[in-house]
Point group: T
Chain length 141, copies 12
């Protein structure tokens, strides 16, 4: 069972940037926890600040993995290209946001990329990724 | 540990209504599964078609329970009153939607009630409730 | 043949309230005329000021009747919950409005609840209900 | 008793065009049925694809007939000129639409021409015309 | 002289909920003060979380009282039904809001229910109710 | 000196239709007055209910006349085709409206056709045509 | 105790202008009544048609008075400058409108200047000023 | 017969400023021509850059003159205060604009002040004032 | 093989009108070139300034031809009727625009009529028609 | 003669992804056909998922090629940067879309990048590229 | 070399008003520093709360000075009159804002007056004026 | 003292592209001047057409430099990712635009990236960078 996680721009700063909003744990540390929690899953994690690289990563994940979790960061609200990439692949894709976008600025209240995803989990901090893994395992059963 | 679940209008029809969108399992049957899965949690479940009753239920949950899961159904997009009730209580509140609202009609793309919730889980079918319970357990740890 | 009529908020005031807009005949008196006009139909009439009660009534009508006429009053323009209830049942549903909403304030120019109804009759006073009954009889033929 | 019916653009194609939306009966055939159903009424029927001809027809109907039924087709949503023509005459005018415009594309959800009509009947197929005739007869009583 | 006060959803929480916005005095305690201040007035106070119950209460007030004060809470911004109820009665109706809605979220900046009221008093805390009583006494003089 | 006047839909009804808005003098009668007032001008007057005929008339006027006055009636607010025809000719074109569109419904507050005209005169009744003739004479001096 | 009242443009016409909307009592006459009603208060009243003068007057009131009542008239809906002046002073400021702006034209439905005021009283005629004085006395207690 | 002309901000620059848009004749020179053309009229002309002064001038004109011509310049699109002043007086008021606002930037396409005027003349250069005088003479006949 | 071309309003002026935008070749001359270039195609060309005539022409083309090229001119942006006519026929329809609408005024940036066409070619001058013919030939292969 | 083709994100998936919308031929295979069809043209083809790489490619094409065909995929609707790159080069640029964007989701109905292109061809499948080559050859003649 | 600085409403309060946003130095004190920093420049400074006075000041500056710096305060977002005054003069005009308007309320995010200025400097506190002087010196070189 | 400058897409073309808007000096040449003007500053300059690379560069600058100047070019109006990167770092960031965006197309009138910057300088050509350096030096004092 292969599950891939793709994080978008600025999410490499997790743990350092605006801890009031994003918490203070780095993502690499969190990935280790996650891998411990799901020994049956082989994870692949990537992060990119570049919209088009995320498109490429999504396409690749569609071929080589069984499920995909994306957090497109700031591209969530504007990227038709990422949305199209999600629509083009057949494995289940979930969108995760660490903070609750609905309680932040208005321009963060809609998700363009979520339109073609299976579902969205947001506002639950890094734990949202664990829940997304569980959801994918359930879907793939 | 007490977790309360409040479902909004038409969610009593689950399993019967539009199975293409909502699946074909009734909520009561699902509640039994849920209770089995979390023996340490004492669940309380209510459903109401009436916006103001949901307000009253949320207020009550805020006093007597440790966590709350709401699925406000059609009131998600229009109810300032339910949003205010969530803002008025102190326990963690999660919003769950069975279908992915972002891939349905435009008037379903925003959530007014989600603004004061801790987070949202949507598009994952009834499994979204299980994930929400897990999320609350994590928050309350 | 069972046809149900559900009136929304303030429609209990018919005959008393703003006669320039709504005419001066009470609905109960009108129901008697209607029943006389269609002896082959068994009518059931309800009125509620409460959005969620109307949702519940629509669900019930979907099970126990052959056709349904709704006049959601002020909820016409804002109620996703009533729209969802209409979408969830299988009998033909018609929306009736006593006044011509298109010649009143702008916020009355669209109908959210009409989206999932079979059709709409508006502006023809109480006679709109009679026409709706005829339309349902034609549909059910 | 003279009642006039004016159909707008593309309604000459009834019975041939998109039967899923408009049914498969031609309007001329339907007119015969209608005339049989109301022997006391003298009907006059016209169809035009041209917005301004419909304006002229409405003006003429206002002088020579007792009631008018219009289906402005695609002009419903954009024609101030037809709306003005309706406003300029004194006989009762009803608007009929064969399909339920509220469940089609967004640009069909409002009616500019309906603003000055007495009322609207929509979504009930060709039977909407019969109901409109009945409504006019009731108004003229 | 009978004056009625109808409070909407969540206003039962006054004194407990978000004291930074709403102050810390409960409404029942405040009612006692109010009654002391206006011995010539017979007050009737109700609170409901349910939009339709508020509609019903307004209709009843219109028959049995001389003046009415409403604070529709979260329904202020969305309820055509409450607005219609106010329009349907003949006694003077005043709208009161405890906080200044204009300095809160954008969706609170307009009032649909205030459109048919005589006037609005907002931002003055519970004292707004006293002022509304005075205003009604002046109107009824 | 040739000046042409083109009136749009429903303006043939002047004097008969809604005299509160449009006054009670017919246009033909008015034309006679106008011709008397400007003996040095050779007038040509047309009226059409048909948008495209107005386009054709404007094109013709551009070739055979020295100045043009248009009152596009209901097409004022929606006709790109008439606007394009005005843009395509070289003689001065003035737009006249009998009533003050700014004090009527919102959809009459903008003019699409006026964008390529030299100027607009509105709200001054039929006298607006006389003023427009004077303005053209001044321009052509 | 010093309370200042600043009226905006056209409010000098009170009693003369549109009595259906604004009543028929002049403001100077009303000021005398007001002074009689509150002998413990020293009032200062100004009126200006000029937006910037109102800004200056508000700044001055912020220094020399204990409370301020403004009726910015037509500037209510457009003046960032007046709103900024209110935000810049520290005494309590109340906004009063004689008519109910919510039942007039759409462009009167929002208040920009009210955003930084303590509260608003509207629709209660000149009596709104008396109530505002009472409210300020209560605030300053 | 007294006719007053009130010009708004920047119109003192006529003849100097942007001659491509506004022509190259100063207004004082033009006033002399105008007075010659209408010897029976006693003119009064004012110009102010200050919105509130224009309000005051309009009020004064309403008392001392028989007709009023305003060109509110940049205030045309934003001034509720000037619109209210026009609504408050009883003599006929015409709005004149030298350039065709409909062919300039979008924010110049609507007129707030024109809403309560009798009519508007625009795009005809300084000659618009002469036509406005003629129109007022006709109205006052 | 029959291909029909229908041009909308003002396109008869090609070669004369605004050559900066539309070029300076008349359409009849261009048709001769086109016919020479495709000897295997039997062309039929019509032009009309009248929206409804274009509707009628499209209906006729749908019956008698194999492919259709429309340039609805100014009706492109507003005509539901033409869009409906395109939707009602079964042969491939292409929309051609001589100029690049995206670089002109905002109201030209969307096409209502293109929604039901097979495709659009714009900005390539008269050569767009040749390309459209080629495209239809390819589709019909 | 050098013509360059730049495809945007997800267009590498042609032939595999959503064949109902995009057809089932891969782009490389299509390029071979294209080169055969135009032996006099030297083609250069690139594809990138990255917005900024497309900007760089467009700049380079502007220097080294005679014509450019872009299909910016999902960036069509949001990329000011690509639009600016097109505006910055002097060779003719055409935009091609395989599907008819006007009959898909609303957010695909406008093109930001097309604003500075010479023209657009859309809805004609891969054949749109051939037509674009023909158009460029015609322009360069 | 003469450079003029014109400050708008409420900027006289600098140093006293909301120091968190505007800092705590008065403008007169700052002017002295500025004059010391640019001994070769003869400065003229004015402040007015009145929109029209600012218009007049801008016109005067256009004649008597070599460069102009304006901070229109609250008029920035609404004043067509000030924008027109800037457009009417020929010396370089720069707009300065002390705070970063983009990080404040939405209604402060656009500048109408900046449209005809040469440039804008904002968010840099009082130092923005020094930078503006430097910029003007550079432009005038 | 280290100051970093990051230019966005198409800004490598400075001096070559559209000199009417952007001037005719290349940025590298300008950098040399800048370095001469501030010998105490160690500059680092980068340019990228790729949104995500700019994100990465901003993050790096936040760690290694004392101040940052960004000109995000076309990403200014659409990039939440760049805005987030600015919000995530702690050194002062200034936004510079060479042209005055407020006098160009509407879609350039707002800046998303400027929201979290300290300030903005625009419209002053390349000299805007020098002023930004001065502003940063002042901030860092």
């Amino acid at each position: 069972m292969k599950i891939e996680i793709i994080n978008g721009p600025n999410l490499n700063l997790l743990g350092a940037r605006e801890p009031g909003i994003y918490g203070n744990q780095g993502f690499e540390a969190y990935m280790k926890e996650l891998e411990k929690g799901f020994p049956e899953v082989s994870f692949k994690f990537s992060q990119s600040d570049i919209e088009g690289e995320i498109v490429t990563l999504i396409q690749a994940a569609g071929v080589r993995s069984d499920g995909l979790i994306i957090n497109p960061g700031g591209y969530t609200h504007t990227s038709v290209a990422i949305a199209d990439a999600v629509a083009a692949i057949k494995i289940p894709v979930l969108e995760v946001h660490i903070s609750n976008l609905l309680s932040r600025e208005n321009f963060r209240h809609t998700s363009l990329t979520g339109r073609y995803c299976r579902g969205t989990i947001m506002g639950l901090g890094l734990d949202g990724y664990r829940l997304a893994v569980e959801a994918i395992l359930e879907i793939l059963k």
